[in-house]
Amino acid sequence: MIKEMDKYKYILDEIGARTKYLYFTRGLEFQEESVDKLDELLKSILKEKEKYVEEKNESMANGLLSIEHMILSQKRLFEMIINLKKDNSDDAWTSLVLAETHIHLAHMAAKGLFSVNDGNIPQFIEGYEKLIFPPQVYNSIEAIYGSSTCSICGEEYGKCNHIKGRAYMGKFCFEQIKDIKEMPAMAIVFEPASKLHRITHSSDDNHNMRDVMTHRISHKESNKLKTKLNKSK
């Protein structure tokens, strides 16, 4: 690890210490308090990162970007548990998917600088995904586009030297698609690019639309489906 990063070790220690509250059975009050504490840490790390960006210290800016996403990942996991305890399973799923995205980004920002001790967050994510949520099916949309630009320099993506997913001076590069020409197909997939694009309802034998997470009947959707089926008879 870069020597200068040592002064932020207390944040990683704090994240490590809070791992004990990532078990579902822990008290809701500890999990809610953890979200508040992580928010505080996030504010301070963002301020520090800005300082390094101004100094054009890319290693430190990217190192703190990694810590930023470590904090966000754990925060999202706590939000997932809180949402589950409050019966908000859709939001819980979103938090889980974002937790996984943030831990990936924490590793990407640290690439070439230090190896991330992720406090077993990927194991928690995998465990919750497999044991708490029912299996999901996803949508995938194909898009045909003409040009795209780089989020770092604004040039045509691919002509510059920035690579999407990599960190540059405390920011990630992403490819901004500019002109979508057509969306020729939509597929149902089990391994999507994004697990946020999931099928949220399915119909049962009585044409009731049921929420995939809760299995509750969604009345509005069911009525629409029944009207459609009656009309087609």
């Binding site: 690439k111 990927p122 586009y145 003409g146 691919g158 990599r166 490819e175 391994e191 690019a193």
Partner: protein
């Protein structure tokens, strides 16, 4: 899974579609063998990234053709760009093929960094043999299986 197939006369097809013939290597549009006219050609969306990574490694790669559209399939499976290796690069600089394949495998590894996913990938390479014919190498599997590809490409070229 590795599969080797006969391929169309890529040189002739490039001429027909008005594409530059590469000296060493090029990324070809995904539907290069089936597209009848240039306006139907499509690059996969990872073409720009892979091209940029290869270019930054100072490997001589023909620029992507202007005016060809890109297709984003939004699947977790990594659909790599179709890369053509000419007989010159295979015969004279085979180490550049190793480097190219390493660049691709590093990039795929980055996509799963920090997650517990296995990256599934589909790769297709067009190989110009020493006789001037073209063969297609299809690979489907995980990253570890990529290690053997440079040797297989050399064998296909020499056959």
């Amino acid at each position: 899974m590795i599969e080797i197939q006969e391929y169309i006369d890529a040189s002739e097809k490039m001429k027909k579609l008005g594409l530059r013939k590469p000296e060493f290597m090029a990324i070809l549009p995904r539907n290069f063998d089936t597209a009848e006219t240039p306006d139907l050609l499509l690059y996969p969306n990872e073409a720009k990234t892979i091209h940029s990574l290869i270019r930054q490694a100072e490997i001589d790669i023909t620029p992507l053709e202007d005016g060809i559209l890109f297709k984003d399939e939004q699947s977790f499976t990594f659909v790599a760009p179709l890369i053509l290796f000419t007989s010159i690069i295979i015969a004279q600089n085979p180490h550049l093929i190793n480097i190219t394949i390493n660049i691709i495998s590093d990039y795929i590894y980055d996509r799963i960094r920090g997650t517990r996913k296995n990256a599934n990938l589909k790769l297709e390479y067009i190989i110009e043999t020493r006789n001037g014919d073209y063969k297609k190498l299809n690979y489907e599997g995980n990253i570890d299986g990529l290690n053997n590809l440079p040797e297989i490409i050399k064998e296909i070229h020499d056959d």
